[in-house]
Symmetry: C2
Subunit: 204 residues, 2 copies
């Protein structure tokens, strides 16, 4: 997604070869128009698929799920990182955060994922894949079908995509970073044609 | 907001005189079309005001801030409940959650609130007002101007609105609950005319 890559180049901040800050426009202060475009882009990448629900995880995935769900005209659900105060039957899985060096429990009420659901997962970052693999497992617990994963930014030098693809999951990332260092970001360029072909072949 | 009240009557779940669950359509599973309408309604209530930014708190305020910011064509910022991993100068204030009986720190990077900002706060619930008063204090720390507070649902039998109004804050809630019990919700009816008058008188 060209406009997203340009925005990352312009307003992103590379702190090291591993850490990219995009909190000026994606995950602390947020540009709502860009977010809507991101939702449209995910809907287009998964065009031809039947999707009944979008799933993400609080907090930084919520606005992207919102934009994607609106484009698809389906509800979205966000997994929680804290137990609800009210007692509730939930699907639940532990997720290890490498950034924070802690393990937390993510959960979704059993009322909102069912075996009839066909689910698109979206999130802001795909890096180690830990959080996204956790969401995949929630969907398995519910017996729902996973359509694929959409990531706004992929750190392609980290193992997240490989781990998801090994699990048979289709991954679409809107900006794929091959490598980065302060002042320098190299994206993996995907021709628009390739994306369109991929979509076309997928709907056959 | 009539459609919101009807939806709360239809899909909300009153667990007691104090606890209303709306996680089927507002804050766990979310209806994105209703959320967009809510954003439009906030923009309309504060019509005539200059607003440079929408502020909310993670996680359940994010999609409402997104919809409101989109309607106003301004960025939104969500306050965080956890410290960022990267070192950062922040505005910060402790907030006590009566529901969870715990105190947590909310913060916003100093980069994203400035004395030039005119800010509309939005959140899903206005009850004790603790979280919203915390956001008001963040704005004071930044020296920004607070335009007002928009709440999707107000528990009018709790002191939040009074506390905010005592602090000189304009409050607009889209559904005001006078009282409730399992199977029964009574809203405070506001004539559409009253709302329009209020907006008109405010822009003089």
């Amino acid at each position: 997604m060209k406009t997203l890559q340009e925005r990352i180049q312009q307003d992103g901040e590379v702190l090291s070869s591993q850490v990219l800050k995009v909190d000026a426009f994606l995950n602390h202060q947020v540009d709502p128009v860009l977010t809507m475009d991101i939702g449209q882009a995910f809907a287009q990448r998964f065009q031809g698929e039947t999707i009944t629900k979008v799933l993400t995880i609080e907090a930084s995935g919520i606005h992207f799920a919102m934009a994607t769900a609106l484009a698809l005209r389906v509800p979205f659900v966000y997994a929680k990182k804290k137990k609800a105060v009210t007692q509730e039957a939930v699907y639940s899985v532990p997720v290890h955060s490498f950034t924070r060096q802690e393990t937390y429990q993510i959960s979704v009420s059993q009322k909102y994922l069912s075996p009839d659901d066909q689910i698109l997962i979206v999130d802001d970052f795909l890096a180690t894949g830990a959080a996204l693999l956790g969401l995949v497992e929630l969907i398995q617990q519910a017996g729902a079908r996973l359509v694929g994963v959409g990531a706004v930014i992929e750190k392609s030098f980290q193992p997240g995509r490989s781990l998801l693809e090994q699990a048979g999951v289709r991954v679409e990332s809107l900006a794929r970073i091959a490598e980065m260092s302060p002042g320098q970001i190299t994206f993996i360029e995907e021709a628009e044609e390739t994306v369109k072909e991929k979509v076309t072949s997928y709907v056959k």
